[in-house]
Amino acid sequence: MRLVFELWQVCINEWTKLIRRKRLWVALILAALIVALFAYTTHEDAASALATQSPGAVQQQIQEEKAQLAQFQAQPQTANIKQMESGLTSELQSLQHQYQQLQHPGEWQQTVRQEIQQDKQQLSTPAATPQDRAQQGLVKVDLLQLNYELNHGVAPVLPWKTSVYQSLQHFLDIVSSIFLPLLVVVVAADMVSGETTSGTIKLLLIRPVSRTRILLGKWLAALFATAVLTLGTCAAMLLAGMAIVGNTGARAPQVVGIGYQFVTSQLAAMQGGNSIVAIPQVGHASVLPIWEFVVLEMLLITLGMFMMATLAFFCSVLFKSSMASTAVAIGVVIVGNIAESLIQKKFMALLFTSHLNPANDWTGQSAQTFHWSLGLGGGLLVMALWTLVALGLSLWKFQRQDILNA
C-alpha cells in the first residue's frame, strides 16, 4: 500500500512541476496550430468539392463540352477533328451518366447490387498467377464493403460533400509520424535531464523515497501529459472538422484485420512491377463504421505516443544535458522516418517509427509497405517491447548512477 501512496505523491509532485514549466504550454500552442491547420484544409477541400462535384457544377461542365463539340462540328472535318469529336462525345456520355446518378441518389442500392454481381463474377473465374490472386483479394475486400453498405443501409457519401472522418484519417496518418512525436518529445525529453541540468536532482534524490519510485512517478506523469496532448489534439481536430463539414459519412464501412500473403513472382517483376506480390486475405477481417474506426485510431495513436514518450524519457535519463536529450530524441524520430521511406526491407517493420500509428497495422497498410503481415497484435507486441526495454534500461541506469557533477 505504501508503494502506491508514495508513487501517487511522486506523481502529484511531477505533474505540479510539469504544468508550471513552459514546455507543456509550448506543446499546447503547437497543438492548437495544427488543429487550426486541419480546420483550414478541411474547409478548403470542402469548398473545392462543392465547386466541382455538385450537380450544378457537373451540368455546367456538360454545357461547356456541348459548346466545344458544336464548335468542332462547325469546322472542316479532318481526321484530327473527327478524333477530338469522338473523344468529346464519350466524355459527354459519362458526364451525363454521372449527372443522372447525382439526380437520383436514392437509387444507390441498385448500383451497389450491380457492383456486387460484377465482383462475384470476377471471383468465379479461377486465379492462375499471383497477380490474379491479388486482384481477387482486392475484390473480396470490396465485396465486404459493399455488403456492409447494403446490410446496414449506408448510402455512399455524395461526391460534393466531405466526410470529416475521411479527411481526419488521412491527416492523422501524417501528423502521427512526425508532429505528434515531436510534441511528446518536447514534454518528455527533459523530465530527468532538466533536473540534472538545473541541479535540482540532488535535492530530489536525498529523500527516503527510492530512486525507482521517483523515476516511475516521473514516467507516469509524462504518460499522462502525453495522453492529454494526443487525445486532446485529436478530439479538437474532430470537433473542428465537424463544425465545418458536419457529420456526413459517419457510418461508411472501414475494413480492418486484412492479412497479407506475400508471394514472389518473376513474371510480375518482368512486367515492370514489384517482384513481391501482396495478396489480401480476408479470413480474419471485419468491417467497422468509420467513426468507430477513427475513434479507435486515436486511442491506438495514443498508445504509439506512449511508446514515443518512454523513448524520449530514456534519452532524458541517458543524457545529463536537457538540450542533448531533446535533440537526440527528435533526431531519432526524424532519422527513423527517413529510413522508413528509403529502406523497404522486412526488418524495418521492427523499428518503432513504423508503429507510431498502430491503426496502419490494423488495416494492413503497413504490411504492404514492409512485406510483413504483423497485424494489430504483432504491432502492439513490437510497441510493448520497445516501451518495456526503454523503461527497464532507464530504471537500471537511474538506480545505479553516481550523481557527482550535477
Binding site: 509532485n13 512541476k17 538545473s198 541541479g199 535535492l203 534524490l205 527516503p208 523515497v209 553516481d402 557527482l404
Partner: protein, 307 residues
C-alpha cells in the same frame, strides 16, 4: 551510538582513487567540521554520505542504518544541502517545501512548513516565486527543506555560501541551537573562521585520507600557551628572553613567547628592566588557518606534539 559512521570508505572514479580508507564518526549533538584543500575529496565524501553516489568499498551508517541496505531509515533521519541548494525556481518557496514534504511523508505538513519557514526567517516571502529570491534567501530555503523531516543529522556542504555577515552569524547560531537539541551537524567548508566558530571537532582531509581529527580548541592552541608582546626592537627582546623562555621567536615586531598566564607579570618585568619598549601584551592562539596550512603542507608546528 554515533549518529554518522564511516568505516573504511573508499571511492574510485575512473581509475583514480579519490577516497582512501576513510573512517570517522560523529556523535549526537556534535558539530563536526570537515576541512581540506581543493581536490581533497570533501565533496565526494559528502555525496557518498547522502547517497548520491556509491562507495567502491566500505560502509556508511546513519544512526546504525547502512545507507546502502536500509536506505529509507538512514535517509529518513537525514537533512542535507549539497553545494548550492538548487530548488525549483519556477515554483514558490511554499510550493518547493510542499514538494519535499510530500516525499518525506511527514504528517501535518502544512504546520511543519510554517515552522521551518519561521526557523529560517522566510515566512513573509514564502509565496513568492523562488526566481525572485536573493541568493541568501535561496540558501535559507535550502536549510528549510533540510529541516522539514526533523532530521537527527544535518549534512552541509559550504552552507554559508552567499550569506552576508549577519546571515552567517544567524546560521551559526541556528546550528548551535540545533546541536543543543541533540541534532548532529556535519559541515564542510572553506571558511576556516566559520568552522572555528561553529564546530566542536574537526577532521582534515588531504588526497582522500584523513590527516588529523581533533577538537577545535586543541588544534588551535596546539596544547601550548603562548604570549604575544608587541615591542619596538624585536630582535633585542628575543635575545633577552631566549634563555628564560626557550622557543621564543619574533615576527614583524611581535615577540611570541611560550609562557603560561601566571608567568606574564615576570616576563614583563624582565623586559621592562632591560628597557625594552612595550606596546602591547596578549595571549596568542594560532588561528585555525595556520594550524590547517601547516598540517596540510606537512610542516610540523614548533611545539605541537603528535602531528
Amino acid at each position: 551510538m554515533s549518529v554518522l559512521e564511516l568505516e573504511a570508505v573508499s571511492k574510485r572514479i575512473g581509475g583514480r582513487l579519490i577516497l582512501d580508507n576513510l573512517s570517522m564518526s560523529v556523535a549526537a549533538g556534535e558539530v563536526y567540521g570537515f576541512l581540506g584543500p581543493n581536490g581533497a575529496g570533501k565533496t565526494t565524501t559528502i555525496r557518498l554520505i547522502v547517497g548520491l553516489a556509491r562507495p567502491t568499498a566500505g560502509s556508511i551508517r546513519i544512526l546504525g542504518h547502512d545507507i546502502a541496505r536500509e536506505r529509507r531509515e538512514a535517509v529518513g533521519n537525514l537533512g542535507a544541502i549539497v553545494e548550492n541548494p538548487e530548488v525549483y525556481s519556477y515554483l514558490t518557496g511554499r510550493q518547493n517545501l510542499e514538494h519535499y514534504a510530500r516525499l518525506a511523508g511527514i504528517p501535518n505538513s502544512k504546520e511543519r512548513i510554517l515552522e521551518v519557514a519561521d526557523i529560517v526567517n522566510l515566512r513573509q516571502r514564502l509565496d513568492d516565486k523562488v526566481k525572485r529570491y536573493s541568493l541568501g534567501m535561496r540558501q535559507r530555503l535550502g536549510v528549510a527543506q533540510a529541516l522539514l523531516g526533523k532530521p537527527r543529522l544535518l549534512v552541509l556542504d559550504e552552507p554559508t555560501n552567499g550569506l552576508d555577515p549577519a546571515g552567517m552569524r544567524e546560521f551559526r547560531e541556528l546550528m548551535r541551537s540545533l546541536a543543543e537539541t541533540g541534532v548532529s551537524v556535519f559541515v564542510s567548508s572553506h571558511l576556516l573562521s566559520e568552522i572555528q566558530m561553529m564546530c566542536d571537532r574537526v577532521a582534515v582531509l588531504k588526497e582522500g585520507r584523513i590527516l588529523a581529527e581533533r577538537n577545535v580548541e586543541e588544534m588551535m592552541t596546539g596544547g601550548e600557551h603562548k604570549v604575544a608582546v608587541t615591542v619596538a626592537d624585536g630582535q633585542r627582546a628575543v635575545a633577552i628572553l631566549a634563555q628564560g623562555y626557550p622557543g621564543t621567536d619574533e615576527k614583524e615586531g611581535v615577540v611570541r613567547v611560550p609562557c603560561e598566564k601566571e608567568q606574564i607579570p615576570q616576563l614583563l618585568r624582565t623586559l621592562v628592566a632591560a628597557e625594552v619598549d612595550i606596546y602591547g601584551v596578549a595571549p596568542l592562539s594560532d588561528t585555525l588557518e595556520e594550524a590547517f596550512l601547516s598540517l596540510t603542507q606537512g610542516v610540523e608546528e614548533a611545539g605541537e606534539a603528535g602531528v
